[in-house]
């Protein structure tokens, strides 16, 4: 739904898809509690990202207005961080570690395996909307290499068979993402 007044002003990215009142109130309360609104920037981005599924242009605007920042300032952060998604992602975001230890244990072939299995390229969303695979800086599970995070939950050491198991389980159980509160 396009907001007509905004459209008339040329602000065609502002639409009526606003975050729900309850969530807005909750965020406003959280920001008010902080000593400085800006220190909540990443927290607010995570929460709004969870609501939209990713940090859309509208979401960047919303976050900016909540924090009293400009959309550009918010986007500067959003594009800087690995775990803020500026494009649509699957319900489960798979962060496959490509740190040097995981690389040593065959991360590259696992990445190919995952992409082939899900029928995606790196960063794409699978056709069922469930999965996105992203290469990620060392996730700190070198003692379980090769490892990955799925919505914040670590898995390792991985083999193609274990990956099959994990994907099958995710398809059935669909646990709540844990990265956002």
């Amino acid at each position: 739904m396009i907001n007509e007044r905004a459209w008339a002003k040329g602000l065609h990215w502002v639409n009526n898809h606003m975050i729900p009142e309850g969530l807005r109130k909750e965020l406003e309360a959280r920001i008010k509690q902080a000593d400085h609104p800006r220190e909540c920037a990443v927290d607010v981005m995570y929460t709004v990202q969870k609501h939209y599924g990713y940090l859309s242009d509208e979401a960047v605007q919303e976050v900016a207005s909540l924090l009293g920042m400009t959309p550009l300032e918010v986007d500067e952060l959003a594009t800087f961080y690995d775990f803020i998604y500026r494009e649509p992602v699957g319900k489960f975001v798979i962060h496959l570690c490509d740190g040097v230890v995981c690389w040593m244990f065959g991360e590259e072939s696992l990445m190919n395996y995952l992409c082939r299995k899900l029928g995606v390229k790196v960063g794409e969303r699978s056709a069922d909307g469930l999965f996105t695979v992203l290469p990620t800086a060392c996730i700190g599970y070198c003692d379980y290499a090769p490892a990955m995070l799925v919505n914040g939950i670590p898995y390792g050491p991985l083999t193609p068979e274990k990956i099959d198991e994990i994907l099958d389980q995710l398809r059935i159980e669909e646990p709540e993402p844990v990265i956002d509160r």
């Binding site: 220190e39 961080y81 690995d82 690389w103 800086a137 700190g140 070198c142």
Partner: protein
């Protein structure tokens, strides 16, 4: 040689769960805090830590006492502690294991650091990969608060202190103190060399950024004395116990607490169970991805700060990554440089432009397109990294410097054979 070293940081280690608040208290936890807030001055506390010889465990090894003493009596308020749980150095996972072993040890250390510099608030900086740890800390902070160790007038004293958790969006450079300050302030996390942490850190106020392993040592130092802490080390110059990570081609990768200065060979063979079957030791990174690739001739080096300085290298985080004879070190260096090129914040030219350049050269060598002239070119580029704005780029060049210094022959084989000698066909 000590037969069985005393466990300090891992005194309450359980393989499957964190120690509870009660377990931590039974092992002497919060005794130091209770004593300190009643009977000791911040200055005494700083002195104890300075005497213990405790050096920062985040990689740089800066003396903790000196860092704390940089905040002057007349410095403004409020003051902040940033317990650093960003741990994005590839190969390093000790802080994750530590927090999961004894969260209250880190919490007590943080409160004591706060007391030492008369700070009012701590902000735990936690990377997104450690969301489980962030939740654990939030839960245990509540427990500490209920017990009267956090909040207003701690244990009836006039010392009040708060700790909150800050979740990062995930970027390596956030581990750098001034970049971390920017990150908490909701700015893009570029390092800021004009900021002097002890004067104008977080919100322009005096700030101490300490690695969580460093903080976890503090309660023990205060309870048992600086001399005791210093004597834990295996080397004269070293101090304390250290959490060493071992990963790569070893039988039992993991995090092991040992006396500072334990020889590398002992850590690999006795703790990590030696190399995997069919693997021979070839090279190692002593402390994460921003330290040098070092060869077998250093197999018996003592793992402390000074032993590495003496041979022109750095201990870093003490996170040992082991490479075997079947692993191509040109490809490994390419992986490491790719990591740094991607993680560079892009603020200064040597780092932003230089790292992708090095990456390109290494890629060509690895893929059979190398030339003899590339070797001096790599050497020059590695040296140029010292012109970067912060320590990120020189750190990034460290593995490459090791490769050039100790494994030039392996680079030459790639060039002369016009392929990677480790690949089939």
């Amino acid at each position: 040689m000590k037969a069985m070293s005393e466990k300090v940081l891992f005194q309450n280690y359980h393989p499957d769960r964190p120690a509870t608040f009660e377990e931590y208290c039974r092992s002497g936890g919060y005794v130091a805090l209770s004593e300190v807030v009643k009977n000791r001055s911040p200055k005494e506390l700083r002195q104890s830590v300075a005497e213990s010889g405790l050096r920062g465990r985040g990689g740089a090894g800066y003396p903790a006492g000196r860092k704390w003493n940089a905040i002057r009596e007349q410095s403004p308020f409020p003051r902040y502690i940033l317990p650093n749980l960003d741990e994005m150095e590839p190969g390093t996972f000790k802080d994750r294991v530590l927090v999961n072993t004894d969260p209250h040890m880190v919490i007590e250390g943080t409160i004591l650091a706060g007391f030492a510099v008369s700070a009012q608030k701590a902000v735990f900086f936690i990377r997104p990969s450690y969301e489980l740890e962030a939740k654990l800390i939030e839960k245990e902070l509540e427990v500490a608060r209920k017990a009267g160790f956090l909040g207003k007038n701690i244990l009836g004293s006039d010392f009040s202190f708060e700790i909150v958790v800050h979740r990062s969006g995930g970027r390596y450079i956030c581990g750098e103190a001034s970049a971390q300050v920017n990150a908490v302030e909701g700015k893009r996390a570029h390092p800021d060399k004009t900021a002097h942490m002890a004067e104008n850190g977080l919100w322009e106020k005096p700030t101490i950024v300490n690695n969580v392993e460093t903080l976890a040592c503090v309660p023990h130092i205060l309870r048992r004395g600086g001399a005791w802490f210093k004597s834990l080390a295996r080397t004269k110059a070293g101090a304390g116990a250290k959490l060493y990570c071992v990963s790569g081609k070893v039988k039992r990768p993991g995090c092991y607490e040992l006396p500072m200065g334990t020889p590398l060979s002992e850590i690999i063979e006795e703790q990590a169970g030696g190399l995997l079957p069919g693997s021979d030791f070839k090279a190692f990174l002593p402390g994460g991805a921003s330290t040098a690739l070092m060869p077998g001739k250093f197999f018996h080096i003592q793992m402390d700060f000074d032993s590495f300085t003496e041979v022109g290298h750095r201990l870093g985080t003490g996170a040992i990554v082991v490479f075997d004879h079947k692993t191509c070190l040109v490809a490994a260096s390419l992986n490491l440089i790719e990591y740094f090129a991607r993680e560079s914040c892009g603020f200064c030219t040597p780092c932003r432009e230089g790292l992708p350049f090095i990456k390109d050269i290494l890629w060509r060598i690895e893929n059979g397109e190398g030339k003899e002239t590339f070797i001096p070119m790599l050497r020059d580029m590695a040296n140029y990294m010292s012109h970067a704005y912060c320590a990120f780029a020189p750190g990034a060049a460290s593995p490459l410097e090791g490769l050039l210094k100790y494994f030039e022959e392996e680079i030459r084989e790639h060039i002369s054979q016009r392929k990677c000698p480790f690949k089939e066909g």
